[in-house]
């Protein structure tokens, strides 16, 4: 039986820098899986290779039993992988509703239909009251939720969230965590998230992958991973804790 998402021995270099180094892991369907690691560990690069921004050098990426490495970003999205960006990228001149409608139009070609679904998602993410506002006028937390909404509108089976909690206050973080948990439970959406905010990671993740210098140094249940000496070493240095 093929895995839901399988990353097998992929690497990625930028000129001389090895960002991802022969990385392999599997994400089972239906769970929430977190990728953590110090800055520069290669997390966003990993996401970018999965999402098709650039192909990995060597190795394979399989999604739902089919290879997706080397495909274009939009093709991968159509296969069912949605993503958000580390630095949010809404469509600034479009309204909140229009932003999400763009996502919904992927699966629903009829504009009125897509708009209805967009509004439903906006309500789910609790920003429906801002639907006629321009995306450029939103606050950061709202933009983050907009980005998630837009990705959700494409009806993905796997959602890649890149540091979606960064810059949020604890109450906002909890709110978003709640929404994500709900969607994961109800729609069975598999979530792969990059996070620095440990509060969110511990609340959401069933399994955690720790990256350092582009390679995996630990993988497992949250309680084990945070006690792993190699993990602590990578974050805090060689000091005795």
């Amino acid at each position: 039986m093929s895995a839901f998402l399988k990353v097998d021995g992929i690497s990625k270099r930028f000129r001389g820098l090895i960002a991802v180094d022969r990385l392999s892991f599997e994400v089972p369907q239906g769970g929430i899986y977190a990728v953590i690691g110090p800055n520069g560990a290669g997390k966003t690069t990993l996401f970018n290779t999965i999402a098709g921004v650039y192909p990995p050098e060597g190795g394979e990426i399989e999604f739902l039993g089919e290879r997706i490495d080397g495909l274009r970003e939009d093709e991968i999205c159509r296969r069912g992988v949605g993503r958000t960006f580390q630095i949010v990228r809404p469509f600034p001149a479009l309204t909140v509703e229009e932003n999400v409608t763009v996502g919904a139009l992927l699966r629903h070609h009829h504009v009125a239909d897509a708009r209805r679904r967009a509004v439903a998602i906006l309500e789910r993410l609790d920003i429906a009251d801002k639907r006629t506002q321009r995306a450029s006028a939103l606050t950061l937390p709202d933009r983050k939720r907009l980005e998630v909404a837009r990705a959700l509108a494409t009806e993905p089976k796997l959602l890649l969230l890149d540091e979606v909690m960064a810059g949020l206050r604890p109450t906002e973080t909890d709110r978003l965590v709640g929404i994500l948990r709900e969607i994961n439970r109800e729609a069975g959406l598999t979530i792969l998230l990059i996070e620095h905010v440990m509060r969110a990671v511990m609340a959401l993740a069933a399994r955690i992958l720790v990256l350092h210098h582009g390679a995996a140094i630990a993988e497992g249940a949250p309680e084990e991973v945070v006690r792993d000496p190699a993990v602590i070493h990578s974050y805090l240095g060689a000091e005795e804790v």
Binding site: E73, L94, E98, V111, A114
Partner: protein, 334 residues
């Protein structure tokens, strides 16, 4: 379906539209011959501006070589008419696909090879220049000596062969401008429109949302090119002479972009408003100079340059958004 086009417009806008439409219909009845030629120019640039706007305002691709499509439309239909007696409306069936193909060629070159932004603009300029020089040497169409259409003294208007009084051209261009307006609005509200706007705003984010950006950018280029070529047909049959040096020249391309930029890129009424402002003022300037006995070739172009400069510096979104706010005509879509 017609009703859907007007959905979202406040009543004030609808009344204004009706008034303007009536005025436009009646204009030839009260206008002098000279004023009629000015109005023809205005709607010519209004139509062209709309067509160009699809590429730039909707899909975000800056083309500075639109004269290419005008020229192709003009030369294909004119040649077919002069050498084979083919009526322009039949000739259109050849001209539009040819222009569309030219657009597709440029689009393919650019988008397949990730040529964007300024590089894309330079590519469009280069291809138009290539055409200009090419047609200069094309003996089939008399090269730089020019292609001339036979003009007979006509007592009546022949719509089929486009031989007739300027009034005929006025109504044709008015109809074309309205048609373009309708098409643009319909496109904007459609799935294609949404995808274009997304691409314009942030192409990578659009891809991440599942949009095949290559496909939609190509669509914008081809539609824009095809629409533009129709203006070329009217150009050929109105002026009755074609010179590659004039038709394909970069000044023509720049004139095409002026109206939409001044009026407001990406808006529906921007190109039309821009055409009225620019051509209206330019002609006033020329008339004033002529009245004062000054013959300054180039004065009009300097004026255009200054207008472009002022708009970019002071009103970058164009005059129409500013005017719309003043008139209280805010609506949900541009």
């Amino acid at each position: 379906m017609i009703a859907r086009l007007f959905e979202g417009l406040p009543p004030r806008a609808l009344i204004l539209l009706a008034v303007l439409f009536a005025a436009a219909l009646a204009a030839p009845l009260i206008a002098s011959d000279y004023l009629l030629t000015v109005l023809i120019l205005i709607f010519y640039f209004a139509y062209l501006g709309q067509a160009w706007n699809i590429m730039m305002g909707f899909a975000g691709q800056l083309s500075l070589g639109h004269a290419l499509y005008v020229g192709l439309g003009a030369y294909v239909t004119a040649s077919l008419f002069v050498f084979f007696g083919v009526a322009p409306w039949i000739g259109l069936l050849a001209a539009v696909p040819i222009a569309g193909l030219a657009g597709a060629f440029i689009g393919f070159l650019a988008f397949r090879f990730r040529v964007g932004g300024v590089y894309f603009a330079i590519l469009t300029i280069a291809v138009a220049e290539f055409a200009r020089l090419g047609f200069d040497h094309l003996s089939w169409t008399n090269g730089s000596a020019g292609l001339f259409l036979p003009v007979k003294q006509y007592a009546s208007n022949d719509l089929w062969t486009l031989r007739g009084h300027p009034v005929m051209f006025y109504y044709l261009l008015l109809a074309a401008s309205i048609f373009a307006l309708v098409v643009c609005r319909a496109l904007l509200k459609s799935r294609i429109g949404y995808f274009w706007l997304a691409i314009r705003e942030d192409e990578q984010a659009a891809r991440a949302a599942g949009i095949d950006t290559f496909h939609y950018k190509m669509l914008a280029v081809v539609i824009s090119a095809a629409m533009t070529s129709f203006a070329g047909v009217l150009y050929a049959f109105y002026y009755n002479n074609l010179f590659p040096e004039q038709v394909f020249h970069i000044s023509r391309s720049i004139e095409i972009i002026l109206a939409p930029i001044v009026g407001g890129v990406g808006t529906l009424f921007g190109p039309i408003l821009g055409a009225f402002i620019l051509t209206g003022l330019a002609e006033t300037l020329t008339t004033a100079l002529a009245a004062a006995g000054i013959d300054m070739p180039g004065a009009k172009q300097v004026f255009y340059g200054v207008c472009l400069l002022l708009v970019i510096v002071a009103l970058p979104d164009g005059v129409w958004p500013w005017l719309k706010a003043r008139l209280g005509l805010k609506e949900t879509q541009p």
